[in-house]
């Protein structure tokens, strides 16, 4: 099993957000997590990525059978955990290409493979950029600085393409993308999907799931998973909203 979350309780600034969440993900699976605003979807993604503001009050997270909470955020990343941010961060003065090469080489070093010099890396970057339909002019620019909302989301998936994670958590990558960009990015994710990785899509819209078909759909409400199903659950949610799920869960 790739990821196993058991009875997870998470708080931020003393406020309990996740309250007894369970979730299991195997390699080769795509999971969608849906749920009302403020239900804790991003909290879950950030806890998995190791954001220091969140306190794990109780529970266990096993990643490839090992305690994920023992690892620092950068160690998790090098071990293959990747979160595409709902709100990607701007890093002024640091070029996309520099940043990505450093990240890529840290990972290569970690898994004992060869690091790339700037020229070699540039070739790799060009290849990966095609996957998400990104122009090379973005390589030289500062990370996300002045990028449009949609460009930032594409840039997240470019990073995923470069870092080739085992567990990819895509937090509302679809929001902010125009219709064509959504298709391109979704196809990109499908290209990156394999039997060796697991993908978690956090989304509000069924539309994304037409492109990236999930094996499982989970509804997160009130700090835990209240309903699970196949891809047809997303369609049902789109029609009926969340109230019936919440009511049934009570």
């Amino acid at each position: 099993m790739l990821l196993e979350i058991k009875d997870l309780y998470v708080a931020i600034d003393g406020k309990n957000i996740l309250k007894g969440l369970n979730l299991s993900i195997n390699k080769g699976e795509v999971h969608a997590i849906m749920g009302p605003n403020g239900s804790g979807k991003s909290t879950l993604a950030k806890v998995l990525a190791g954001h220091p503001s969140y306190e794990v009050v109780k529970g266990e997270i096993l990643y490839e059978g090992k305690d994920l909470l023992e690892l620092d955020p950068d160690e998790r990343a090098r071990e293959g955990v990747f979160m595409a941010f709902q709100y990607p961060v701007e890093v002024p003065g640091v070029s996309n290409a520099q940043f990505l090469r450093l990240a890529y080489n840290e990972k290569m070093k970690h898994i004992g493979e060869e690091e790339l010099d700037p020229l070699e890396f540039n070739d790799l970057l060009k290849e990966k950029a095609k996957i998400v339909g990104m122009e090379p002019e973005f390589f030289k620019r500062s990370v996300n600085e002045g990028f449009s909302g949609g460009e930032k989301k594409r840039n997240e998936i470019l990073q995923m393409a470069v870092l080739d994670p085992k567990l990819a958590l895509l937090d509302e990558t679809d929001s902010g993308l125009d219709i064509d960009a959504l298709r391109v990015v979704a196809e990109g994710v499908n290209t990156l999907k394999s039997q060796e990785n697991g993908i978690v899509l956090v989304t509000h819209y069924q539309r994304l799931l037409n492109y990236i078909v999930p094996d499982f759909v989970h509804v997160l409400a009130g700090g835990k998973i209240v309903k699970e199903g196949g891809k047809e659950l997303a369609i049902e949610l789109e029609e009926k909203g969340y109230d019936w799920v919440r009511a049934a869960a009570q």
Partner: protein
């Protein structure tokens, strides 16, 4: 603000000695005597002076400095060998070297394409006479007065009409243990000329000395000058430098100031416009650690319409270091169409570091475009997490963010050796990974 008798004697004796045997013209002796008089009267500034409130130079006042003269400034004691290493990284094949404030022909390789002479060769030059000691106010403070008092010699650079000086002109300043050096430079860029000056303040060894330099710059119409100052003095040294530029019609002055070294550094810089259409970029980066203290006081005067001044200063402070930034921009009543921008941003890498910043913009005309601001902050936690979440180890991530903070100023530096020194200072370990990056 009087000086204690001991030090007065030190400078007095040195001053009288330098005047006594001198064959300098009367007008120059007069300027020097007057300057020394105003130094004796004012003394070196104290913290009671508003402009020196945060920068205490009493250790400079208290020390008994030796003042070198051309006669006793021959090859310096065996402590360091000037021919070894130190000049290796000065590019471009030329260097104008001052040791202990004294120009050293034996160590210099004079630049081509520009007239470079010692003051003594230029005493009769009308251009020299008309500008010398008219750009920097001798009475600005005790340091400018003292420098002028000892400024019988120095280097006079002149880029001729419509000439483009291909090589960057390197000015190299090296301190001598226990001495106070008073290097002085006058640059005149004639109409339509174009040149680049790089001032290197280097340390030959870790020792205590004072560099008290004055650099005067005069740009005629349509002249262009790129002026980079890189201060890498000994961490036990004092560095007090005043520079001032006057800009002619349509001239462009691009000035970048990097402060990495010295125990205490103070830079007073100024810019003024003589005619419309002048543009000045004055940028800086100070990077201090331990107990270092750095102070930049700038003053930009817009008295003439339609001129541009842009000032971006960034500071990175670690350890118990301290930085002072005071930037005055005055837009006078007649200066319509002024475009003035000033910003000072500081990054504190330690809780014990401290910044006192005061950008000051005073505008007496409505038809202008002006903005200013200052910030003091720490690394952004969300930016740090973003980098960590991509697998960068924490120290690398912090270095990269620090580099990103300074990048705006660093990217202006084109001289490879300086770029390298900066990279090493900003991100010692990141350097090797980035040096060939785009």
């Amino acid at each position: 603000m009087s000086m204690s008798a001991g030090k007065e004697t030190v400078f007095n004796a040195a001053f009288e000695k330098s005047i006594a045997g001198s064959e300098q013209p009367g007008w120059l002796i007069e300027i020097r005597r007057k300057a020394f008089g105003s130094f004796v009267e004012a003394g070196l500034p104290t913290v009671r002076n508003e402009e020196w409130k945060y920068t205490n130079v009493s250790p400079i006042s208290a020390a008994s400095w030796q003042v070198l003269t051309a006669e006793d400034a021959g090859p310096v004691s065996g402590d360091f060998d000037l021919t070894k290493g130190i000049f290796e990284e000065i590019e471009g094949g030329n260097r104008i070297v001052f040791v202990g404030g004294i120009f050293r022909e034996d160590l210099s390789r004079m630049p081509e394409g520009v007239s470079a002479s010692q003051f003594s060769e230029a005493y009769d030059d009308e251009k020299f006479r008309s500008k010398f000691s008219t750009i920097v106010d001798t009475e600005l403070n005790g340091f400018t007065a003292l420098n002028t008092a000892f400024s019988g010699e120095g280097i006079f650079l002149r880029a001729g009409k419509d000439t483009k000086v291909d090589q960057a002109i390197n000015l190299v300043f090296i301190g001598v243990v226990g001495s106070a050096g008073f290097p002085r430079v006058l640059y005149i860029g004639e109409t339509g000329s174009e040149a680049e000056i790089v001032e290197h303040y280097l340390r030959a060894e870790e020792s205590e000395y004072l560099t008290n330099a004055v650099v005067e710059i005069s740009l005629a119409d349509e002249a262009r000058l790129s002026h980079t100052r890189v201060q890498r003095e000994s961490h036990s040294a004092y560095h007090v430098v005043t520079s001032q530029a006057e800009l002619g019609r349509g001239s462009v002055y691009d000035n970048t100031n990097i402060h990495l070294g010295s125990k205490l550094s103070r830079h007073d810089l100024g810019m003024g416009f003589n005619a419309e259409g002048g543009e000045g970029w004055i940028d800086g980066l100070y990077l201090v650690d331990d107990e270092q203290h750095t102070d930049t006081h700038s003053r930009i005067d817009h008295r003439i319409p339609n001129c541009v001044s842009h000032q971006t200063y960034k500071g990175i402070l670690d350890g118990k270091s301290r930085a002072v930034f005071n930037g005055k921009v005055f837009v006078h009543e007649k200066a319509r169409g002024t475009d003035a921008y000033q910003s000072n941003k500081n990054l504190l890498l330690s809780n014990d570091a401290r910044v006192d910043t005061k950008p000051q913009l005073e505008i007496f005309n409505d038809d202008v475009k002006c903005a200013h601001g200052a910030t003091v902050g720490q690394l952004e936690e969300e930016e740090l997490f973003y980098l960590l979440s991509r697998g960068l180890p924490e120290d690398l991530a912090r270095n990269l963010l620090t580099y990103g903070f300074a990048e705006e100023v660093i990217e202006k530096i084109k001289v490879p050796s300086i770029k390298k020194a900066l990279d090493e200072a900003v991100l010692s370990r990141l350097h090797s990974r980035l040096d060939t990056a785009e």
